[in-house]
Amino acid sequence: MPYRLSVNRGSLFAIITLLLVSFVSFNVAKRAAADDAVADDAAAPAPDGAVVNWDGVDGRFLLTELKCAACHTSDNAPLSLEKTAPILAEAGARITPQYLRRFLGDPQSVKPGTPMPDVLHHLGQGERRETVELLTHYLASLGGPIDQRVAGASVFQIERGKELFHRAGCVACHEPVEPPPPPDENDPAAAIRAEIRAEMEEGRPRRPSVPLGDLASKTTVDKLTEFLLDPLHVRPSGRMPSLALNRGEANMIAAYLLREQLTDEKSGFGAGIDYAYYEGGFPKMPDFDSLKPKAEGSAKGFDLNEIKLDKGKKLTGNFAVRFRGLIEVPQDGMYEFFTRSDDGAVLHIDGQEVLNNDGFHPPQNKSGKIKLTAGRHPIEFGFTQGGGGFELSVEWKPPRGKKEKIPAGVLLHSALAMVPRGVVEFQVDADKAERGKELFGKLGCAACHQTDRSKPVDSTGGATRGLEELKANTAEGCLGERVAAGRPKYLLSESQRTALVKAVEESKTPRDEAPTAAQRVAHLMTTFNCYACHVRDDKGGPEARRVDYFTTLTTVDLGEEGRLAPPLNAVGAKLTPAGFEAILFGAARFRPHMATRMPQFGKANLGHLPELLKQADADQIPPHEPEFSSRLVDDGRRLVGKQGLGCINCHAWGQYKLQGADGLDLLELPKRLETGWYHAFLTDPQKLKPGTRMPTAWPGGKSFFPDIQGGDVDRQMDAIWAYLSVGEKGGVPNGLSPSDEYVLVPGDEPIVFRTFVGGVGAHAIGVGFRQRTHVVFDALRVRMALAWTGEFLSAKPAWDGRAGQYASPSGGNLLHFAPGSPLAVLESADQAWPEIDDERRSAPEGWRFIGYRYDKQRVPSFVYQYGDVAVEETPGTEYRQDAAVVTRKFRFTAPTEVENLYHRVAVGNTIEQDAEGRFVVDGKQRYRINAQAAAKPILRRHDDQQELLVPVELANTSSGRRVAELEIELTW
């Protein structure tokens, strides 16, 4: 019986128990919490010191995070990392003057926990106010003052923002506002786990949260959105990472964080209409409520141009849009609406269908009428686009009015006015700004804050005594009881003060040895608060009071493994450089079910982390070099499929997955994982990842499949790796199927399929190989036309309904073979290659298609005739880890000698030979030519193009016929 990964109820309990045990060994969150239910607390107590990172009471980190080095240089603090204070270059454009005044006057009470020191503590009240005013004018002059006009946000935006804030990972560092979602009722172990966590944290102080300060008076929705989209722009040190939000998400979180800005004036409706944008092909207006929008926002009217997508993306492809809001009509009467749309358009008012022009069609006019009473009515307008161009215009004709565009203000949406708190009239006074600028330097602000992106921080304004020379615990020093004038006064807890004193003292002794890679990793993980989510070497993991904010986006049967960040033990031996790159800097989401996202700290900050991890974890896992062969690929496919180990019962394979199979995408594995780790993990999953649901597929080191690779466990693991390493070309594993039921999936035998193929014509013959590399032969023009990888052809155009439609290669990597006929007799070396007329509906002159024959493996050979030369051409492919391959084997036969016969291999802008003797066309396709020695490939230039030709040298055979053979291998 095949061994399967599926889990029954009984083993579920076993796994849960295992998970519990494993949590002990995880040593989750050694920090404690006096209580673990944030719900019961109205607000977290104000921190009694600066909130910096995981180790907020470690002096070495405090030195960095408080930017002591801005004034006190040191040669003995090799662990310290550069930290940059927020860049104030555009401060005025994003921070309100009212906030600047308050914050500068008393940073630590306006934003308790801020590492920003008070540099005005020595001033009397009047002088202090005056200084703050000048600084405010100066900072406001930097790109400001900010536009504080009314911004709008709908209630639904704020609701979604709340959800995102609590689920996407913000609350790992910031204080949650809402209680966590209740534990899963179906998870009997949830309560036990909570108990264990609470126990482990008992007696330890609650971890402070990074303060947000009075955001509602500080900035606007738009500016906060910009900030959230790219926090590193303002705060390059990465302590506030990016969560790779799209614009809509950033906007929603911003609206939520600024929810106090909501005005309750009027009814809360403003001009405009909400839209939601959906991607996908919708031949009919979809049930929008069941879909997840890709973008949301608001527009002034039913205008597709106003739809904003991520990264400035343009509307393209197939999509649908739902506009929703209210329509306010001035008087009772009959209102007529007119649309011109390509494609579908459906309008509802008061829930009644007013007009319906659904479906795909060219631009069409449609109108509809409805009787409305004066006042507001819910309006909903759906638009779909599928194929070709799109357009939409909507007009109306009110009673006794004329047909016109719906005027602004008629359409309302539930946008609520959001205004920064405490708005003041403010004009930058140039004189004050100038004086503020002087003070900014004099007071030492400029030692930390950049105000001009083109100029580095100017630290000359601060003190310059080296760290080693300091007497840390003088009464009037920065760490003293009474900080002297001109010195920054930090908000420090007693323990922080002690720790800093200790660190300063320690810095006076030169370090004997450089820190190890492991120490440096731990230092980085502390600095960037990685430990807030991840466990590594028994350190870190979410606090008990925060752990339940880690959730899944869908119901996933993976337990805590599905919702919590993975442990990072031995991760340096686990991930490949490409894997690190993707997860650290590419915002890859290998665990799409996980609501929490991997923050992006920036390459400038963590670019060296992968290498450090590799060094730190170098000897943790023994290396293993899997073998590779075509046979292993095929065996691997068998093992992965449902009749094998059934990996697909839990794991996705590229775009294919079974319902509820939420395990990681198998096709990502070879890109992400080091082979040593892969081998060790498969050998004993629990050892590397205690508590994982990944079972041992070879219990007791024995295989269930003695007939595969002789039952050798290591070789079977290699087979799976070989199969996964060729990617989609390995072929869909048994048990998974494409969503288009008509897609033809080659099995052991290739599929030969004649149909209409777009770009080829009505005489196309497709050949699909299980290696997911396919070709199309054009039987009319008698030439190999296309090659591509991925999905073979869908039979839907040929089999559905009246059919007779054109199929298009549905995979990727589409390649067109050299145009024209494959053979020509050229009288001279500069004779142009003959062209063929694509409009012609019969074979080119001199050419005849004869048919194809199958060999025993059911691989077809195309047979055709060029003059006296009979050609048999056999397409083929093979598994290759690095590229797609198509081979074309030719056999030419003629009764007599044919002189000056050439095969044209390729045409391109540039053709060069690489070190292996392959011809590289336009830097992309590589051709290896295997022919008789006499047939030397010829590179020639013609009409700004280069051509690669091979002479066909027919040789005598005993039968009297002349024969030549040629094999061309194309990789691309």
Binding site: S737, E741, A762, H763, A779, A798, R802, R841
Partner: protein
Amino acid sequence: MVTLPSRGSGSHQTSESSRSSECWRIPRRNRLESLAFAIIAIVALLPPPSAAAQEPKPTEDDYYRLVTLPLPQDAVLEVGGLEWLDESKNRLLICTRRGEVWVLDNAYADDPQAGLHRDETPPDGVPEENVVRFQRMLFGLHEPLGMLRQAGASYADGIYLAQRSELTRINDTDGDDRIDIVSTVCNQWEISGSYHEYAFGPKLDRQGRMWITLNRPFGGEPEGKAKWRGWAITVDKRGQMQTQCTGLRSPAGLGANADGDMFYTDNQGDWVAVCKLSHMKPGSFQGNPLALVSCDDPQSTIKHPGEPPSGLKLAEAAEKYPAFMQPAVWFPYPRMGKSSSDILTDDTGGKFGPFAGQMFVGDQSTSIVSRVFLEKVDGEYQGACFPFRERFQCGVMRMCWGRDGSMFVGQTNRGWGSAGGKPYGLERLVWSGETPFEVHQMRAAPDGFDLTFTMPVDAATAGDAKSYSMKAWTYYYHSAYGCPPVDEHALEVKSATIGDDGRSVHLVIDGMKRGHVHALRLDGVRAKSGLPVLHPEAYYTLNRLPR
């Protein structure tokens, strides 16, 4: 997903045996017609014949029973062509619209209970003799809609079939029931890539040429831009194409009559009033002018006949535009079909019943098979069609004769729905050996019609003019889609005279008209045995009046 090779897991469909023993039904027809016929029938039946009225009326099932062949679960048998792999007709070949070629063993199973792949084990209790075995010989052709083994040729010589783009020969060189060689025999007709560009055939004429009819395109490219669309062509042994007829519209069926003359069926639409059966006289123009653009090609054997005038009644068209080849038989719509398909001439020598030499014509939409009797008048074919068998499970597309004289009927409803509720399938129509009481032949006479019956007639009823009734109507020859009956009127049956053989009747009809369909009802007629006529109706297309 379609994976090759793949197959069902041994499940099977139970045989849906003949739907017999239901009480007599009025054949389906439109309500007005029903009403009209019902009134006529009531009049004709008064007073009722004494004995027969008490007996249950015989049904089609009593004479021709349907055997449904069960299919493997994964066989989407949208039949495009039927042929025998061997001369002795033991192994049935089927090509499908999905481009597969199957070979069936034990297709003659009397009570087939399972259709299985060759290596599948029958379900418990199903003996092998009740299992039809399927083997897929080939995959990936482009909607082949006909199949032919050259007469006398062996399996090794190859099977011909018309794909959308070419005439193809397939060979299984090693006899392992898988095709090894797919050869292009002729691809000289053009195709633009419209869904409607089907190619039907091939069928053999008496000279051994292969005939193919080419559907015309709809939409997409400008209609008719590709050459030879709407033509009938032949392909000789060297693979060369000859053009034969033009003006075809949607010629889904073709075939030779007993004399080897070629006929085709066309589907109602532009320039085709209702479905029809027409003689493919070489050089003829069958009426749809879209095809005429190709007349300018040097390969054309037909001179452009001039654009046809639109809106003439048939008799008028015959005079003013004689180039138009009047069909031998119109199939009144919808009673006699809505989508004519295959043509099959009865060469069973009586194994299929009393209709040797006559033609059977299928209909895709109404899932029926009709019967056609043709005669020549003034050297041109014309004749009558009769209902023959209805209630196939699905649209009838292809027919062929089994070795025992049973008729295999291949079916599909894809793209154009059909009566019966099944998407595709295969049935076998088996004669019980009992002769049904039917009009056997219907010939035009200068003053009426000569009928012969399949058995001796009851003198009292068959000799009574009141047992008969007749109507006639014509159609327009026009560019519009289809045509309702025009100038419909009743004709008086003046007398009915029984011939010396006791099974023929001469009817004298008042006012017969050229260019009209003459619809005869025989509700009052009884056989000598007392049986009523199984299908008491006939539709004669009177292009010419015999002199």
